[in-house]
Amino acid sequence: MNHTYSYFPGCSLSGSAMEYDLSTRAVMERLGITLTEINDWNCCGATAVEAVSSLLGSALGARNLALAERMDPSSDILVPCSACYLNLKKVEMERREDPELAKNLDTILGEENLAINNPPGVRHLLDILVNDITPDTLLENTTRPLTGLKIAPYYGCQCLRPYAVFDDPEAPTSMEGLIKACGAEVIGWEMAARCCGASNMSTKPETAKKLVQKILMDARGADAIVTVCPMCQLNLEGFQKGISRDAGTDLAISVLYLPQLMGLALGLDPSEVKLDKNLALTPALKEKLISILSLKVNCV
């Protein structure tokens, strides 16, 4: 493979979602893909910024597009976090349709001698995995098929909506080919594209927990849920004890980032995809991985 992307990790991937960052980098390296981190990138504003100022949200996104264009105008921007992806995508789309916004952004960026002319495309990690790298390439490179592992693919919202770029925004399937190429099995379920509650988990926890409970209930029977967003990951993995208590049934389930699963199939060790950083990794999954991957017990 001979692809280069400008990489926008975003803030979560430098902290609470570090395993998403490291496993993405490790998988790309294994597949021969070069990621160049955008120099001096800034926070996209997540879902907080639109609740404060929509122009500020556009400005934060625009600054990143301008930096990426200055660094490498011909490489797409790869974004693993769905909130970052949507915020950058939004500026990409809205400045084309709204000349007044474009003018304001030019003024704001001008303060730092930055400009947007023909910015590189904003792409979600999942889009690139499916359409550029493709499940076929993944299959060719799979050295340790994860045979017998049952996976519930969880897409969440913001990589699918409101912009339907690479998948059906209500009934997504893009992860299925990738998971099968890893040798694992995809379970059918209803909650793949339903909301996890996002930041309501902090500001309106009782409401958000109801949503996560429905997702965890529906995922029963799978060995793991696989995610492509740090916010989804945190909500699904971080509150399982309390939610199980509320539900009156044990809803503990492993939650992995997609590139962590892919990394294992590509022959990377659990430590290289940072499985030790996940908040929810059940003893049952650990046992399964040890036998599937013929690992030593202390590796997982």
Binding site: G15, W41, E50, A51, A59, E111, K210, K277
Partner: protein, 175 residues
């Protein structure tokens, strides 16, 4: 409020079909369902709107925006109401608005959000000694994994976005 006039224009094509309500994952906890909220906007019932918790419950899943038969940007409309509540610092919305403001304050200071600092700023702004307790369980899990550290708020450093934030405010005030 100028912003409410703009919002009213934006929502003017609403036909009150209720697809938004039917699509909303958080509708069960809303005192005014989304369809009714839009009606209140169109009827200038600002008091009813800012008496309701509805817009603070929006988790930006974009299902209503995707499905609206009139193609209205309903998630953005919810965000606009959040932004108005944040600007007015209305007491009943502070648990949400100060959360968002604290996040953005950390971004202004360093260009990137520092998760530990953001939460510390939030707790300080709410002045509620019990609030941090509700985050202890997650905080402990994260610290055990060396993912976040307890961080005292730090002054703006290199990489701060003061100029960008200032310019945005200037443009917004000029509108």
């Amino acid at each position: 409020m100028d912003e409410m006039i703009k919002l009213k224009e934006m929502l003017n094509p609403c036909i009150q079909c209720g697809t938004c309500t039917a699509s909303c994952p958080n509708e069960v906890d809303m005192d005014l369902v989304p369809r009714k909220l839009w009606r209140m906007v169109l009827m200038d019932r600002n008091e009813a709107i800012f008496d309701s918790q509805t817009f603070t419950l929006c988790s930006s899943c974009y299902l209503c925006t995707l499905r609206c038969p009139r193609g209205l940007p309903l998630t953005a409309a919810m965000a606009k109401l959040k932004a108005i509540a944040a600007k007015s610092d209305l007491a009943k919305y502070r648990k949400s608005t100060r959360f968002y403001k604290s996040f953005m304050e950390s971004v202004r200071r360093h260009g990137r959000v520092r998760e530990g600092e953001f939460m510390a700023l939030y707790f300080l702004s709410m002045k509620n000694p019990l609030l941090p307790l509700s985050f202890v369980s997650l905080g402990m899990q994260m610290m055990r994994k060396n993912k976040v550290a307890f961080e005292l708020p730090a002054k703006p450093g290199t990489g701060n976005l003061d100029r960008l934030f200032k310019k945005v405010a200037e443009i917004e005030e000029g509108l």
